[in-house]
Symmetry: C2
Subunit: 130 residues, 2 copies
Amino acid sequence: MGVVDLEGRYRGYLACLNERRLDDLPEFVHDPVVHNDRTLSVVEFQELLRRDATEIPDLYYAVELLVVQGERVACRIRFDCTPTASFRGIPPSGRPISFVEHVFYSYRDGRIAEIWSLIDMDAVREQLSR
Amino acid sequence: MGVVDLEGRYRGYLACLNERRLDDLPEFVHDPVVHNDRTLSVVEFQELLRRDATEIPDLYYAVELLVVQGERVACRIRFDCTPTASFRGIPPSGRPISFVEHVFYSYRDGRIAEIWSLIDMDAVREQLSR
């Protein structure tokens, strides 16, 4: 798959998340998928994403930087959102927060096979504790 | 500059850091350079890198994942090292730690013009507090 196609596939994956079509996830993600060194079934990965979207109902994945080469994608994703429940163990403040995720993906056969994600949790904590 | 050349330029930058040839930095980095939204002179950026290498004398930038497209580079860098002084405000424990940085670069005229860096500070804190 070419770089242009892979970028399209990746943007399709983010649209799937943003539109909460999590039942379509198997179209974009391998089963199983490796997420930060943990091997998850697609159903377990769906649950993880569903939990994020439950804790943050207005969660929206906005691409800030996108780099695609071969079977690899790297993305800086911006989240401007308001958690309504504890997010990764941090209680909500009722106020909006803004933070980024820097995430790498390895594709296999057009689907995401491995994910290395880093979220700016210091920014999340700092803003939620204000 | 092609993707292969840019990858070479970027690996040259990391070699410059690993070999502590910080005087050569202007060869790889624009003056000024934007680092996490702060505009720094090359001298100020040098100081920042020198401080890291003073706090962690065995600091070594090891490429785990590298994605290059157009004028953009994304890298997952692994650090296996032993801080000997407070690193980003966290006191050393005397024991080795392992953590990653997910970092994006925008190049202009063959030099790094902007950097978006995210370090896994939770991993650093967790290991240094053991």
